[in-house]
Subunit: 104 residues, 2 copies
């Protein structure tokens, strides 16, 4: 742990950080669903055919750590947890829309 190359690499290629934060098998789809409103753990499992608890949990945790999603405990019945786009997440929407315009 001398110098941190991650910072050096991101300095030489700033897009790399964001790309990584949105990359992975489930993150793009989770982001997209979050555009329409708060998402929930079990809801995502149902909405993402082929997904699984572990992968969705990991994606949510990493997107929360990357400050793309905000986790909230909703004090209602039934008590549950919501993931909402953060301010940064909302700022990323235009970039996301830009990517959507490239229909391969």
């Amino acid at each position: 742990m001398t110098t941190n190359n991650l910072h050096q690499e991101e300095a030489s290629c700033p897009a790399e950080g964001i790309l990584k934060q949105l990359s992975g098998k489930w993150k793009p789809q989770i982001f997209r669903l979050a555009l329409d409103g708060p998402v929930r753990f079990n809801g995502l499992l149902r909405q993402l055919p082929g997904s699984n608890k572990q992968s969705v949990a990991t994606a949510l945790k990493e997107m929360e750590e990357a400050d793309i999603l905000v986790k909230t405990v909703v004090q209602e019945k039934p008590l549950h947890i919501e993931y909402t786009l953060s301010e940064k997440g909302r700022a990323m929407v235009s970039v996301f829309r830009g990517m959507e315009s490239f229909l391969t």
Copy 2:
């Protein structure tokens, strides 16, 4: 090989395709270098410390297949190969710049 889910998934999340085409350990950096002009195989190996032939070759091939880079044989001395941003690649620059604005 019944229905192609890749298309279905990309239909439900169009950003996913582009994200995948730019994701990976070396593609973002290669894209960034290509912004400054044509890039070459051995040049990239030198410019990307820690990279290797196999990974760079794979990244170039996939970016060419994704129509982000165009491969050209340059009939000069020494005879060599150049990879240049395609029209689509150039269209992606604004999205890339957008990502760069998120300095994590």
